[in-house]
Amino acid sequence: MKAPETMEKQRKHLQRWLAEWQLDLSLGDPSGSAPELWRPRIDFSAEPGPAPGHIRLWPARSSGDEPCYGLLLSGGYGRWRVLPFSGFSLPATPGEWRLRREGPLRVLQIWNLREITGPGAATSWWAETVPTADLFPLEAYLTAWKAGEIPESTPPEQVGPPLIHPLDPRHEYLEMEFERVDRALGELEAAADPGPGLDLAAESPPEYPDP
């Protein structure tokens, strides 16, 4: 059972995150008119090649989007994993990890991880490199989170509170962020796994005769 002090911390954390979310919504849509899709033609040949721990900036492919910052992790077989950064100061869910406390890039979206090709990783600007020592706990958490576990040693403020209610406003945030990153990195992605279950859910179950 969750300790009362952990519950209290999580509620305060969520309260702060929701305040930021509501503030964000109050600022309205900056783009105004319907966004235009772009195919950026930028020469990245002078940039250092992709490396694990790089924070890189991918240009937006829509006139309504900011560019997309992401952290590169090795994906094996010439591919790269990109953890996009959230624009918020606190992690929204257990799928987000606080990398730093200050500056515009504080929270990583583990749940929004994308796997991209080598050339896709290279079509970006290198901005900074995260020290290897900071990547170890992140990789460990990433592995545990993918397995559906949250290590007990994880400090409550390091990741976001659980997402329990099916109509939680954070679902709207997840949808928006998924779409934003999809627009920025979608075309660069390696072949995506369609995943099991959806096709099955879409089918009508076979009708069986009554026994």
Partner: protein, 264 residues
């Protein structure tokens, strides 16, 4: 209180001003004339975003244009070195690389600059209450992060679940089943794979999902009017998980649910 300036650009910046800005690395290193033009522009864009909030107390504490422009530069840079200011490379290579593209890019970035400024200046200690409704009267912080159940639910709830699960699943439309299945897999409903499977857009999927969840909650509340709000929520979530499992296991194992699924 500072006089609020007009948002009219007048003799605004030219593309060359922005190029000088990128080369000089910071407003503080630019020649006075060009710097003044950019400070005025950034200050006005900051003001435009603040005005959208329609909060007089925020407008009254507006910092001078120089500080607004400074806030923009400080916030957008990851660090002091040139590679920490790659957002400038993005601004100057946006779209058709003309002045309009640079200026609309500044507006996009300004949104977060203003949000951060307001958060620090006005929202250090948010006043949300645990019981206050959050957009929807049906939920608040307590319902989003409910405390663990303190005691067992009445045995009738188990019987109700056992007797009604098949009916609940068989009453679901194809879209509702796909939505529940997608969420159970941790997918968002706007995932192109979800939309393609459903052959429907995200708005339609959201509506279908929301309506179904509300319907489930209402069925439980009307069947068990004596449950507390907390108990009712726990029971709804528990039933939702059973429905997710029923959809996944029964369908994927091709086991009969002894029901026919209603088509939309």
């Amino acid at each position: 209180m500072e006089k609020v300036e007009s948002d009219v650009q007048g003799n605004g910046p030219q593309l060359a001003h922005w190029q000088v800005w990128r080369q000089c690395c910071a407003l503080g290193r630019m020649p006075d004339g060009e710097r003044g033009v950019l400070i005025e522009f950034m200050g006005n864009r900051f003001l435009t975003v603040v005005r959208r909030m329609n909060r007089p107390e925020v407008l009254q504490r507006m910092p001078p244009p120089r500080d607004r422009a400074h806030a923009f530069e400080i916030w957008c840079a990851l660090h002091e070195r040139r590679e920490g200011k790659r957002y400038k490379d993005w601004l100057l290579t946006r779209g058709d690389r003309q002045l309009g593209a640079v200026e609309s890019g500044v507006s996009l970035l300004m949104r977060k600059v203003v949000r951060e400024w307001v958060a620090v200046e006005f929202h250090r200690h948010p006043q949300l209450s645990l019981e206050a409704p959050l957009g929807d009267p049906d939920f608040n912080l307590k319902s989003l992060l409910p405390a663990p159940a303190r005691h067992e639910l009445p045995s009738e709830t188990r019987d109700w679940q056992h007797n009604n699960l098949s009916g609940i699943v068989s009453g679901m439309t194809r879209l509702q089943r796909i939505c529940v299945s997608a969420r159970a897999q941790g997918r968002v409903l706007s995932d192109p794979r979800v939309c393609a499977t459903a052959n429907a857009g995200k708005t339609k999927l959201h509506k279908a999902y929301r309506e179904w969840i509300q319907q489930l909650g209402e069925s439980i509340r009307s069947a068990f009017p004596d449950l507390t709000e907390e108990e009712s929520l726990h029971f709804t979530l528990e039933t939702l998980h059973k429905v997710e499992k029923a959809i996944f296991f029964d369908f994927s194992a091709e086991k009969p649910l002894s029901i026919g699924c209603k088509e939309p």
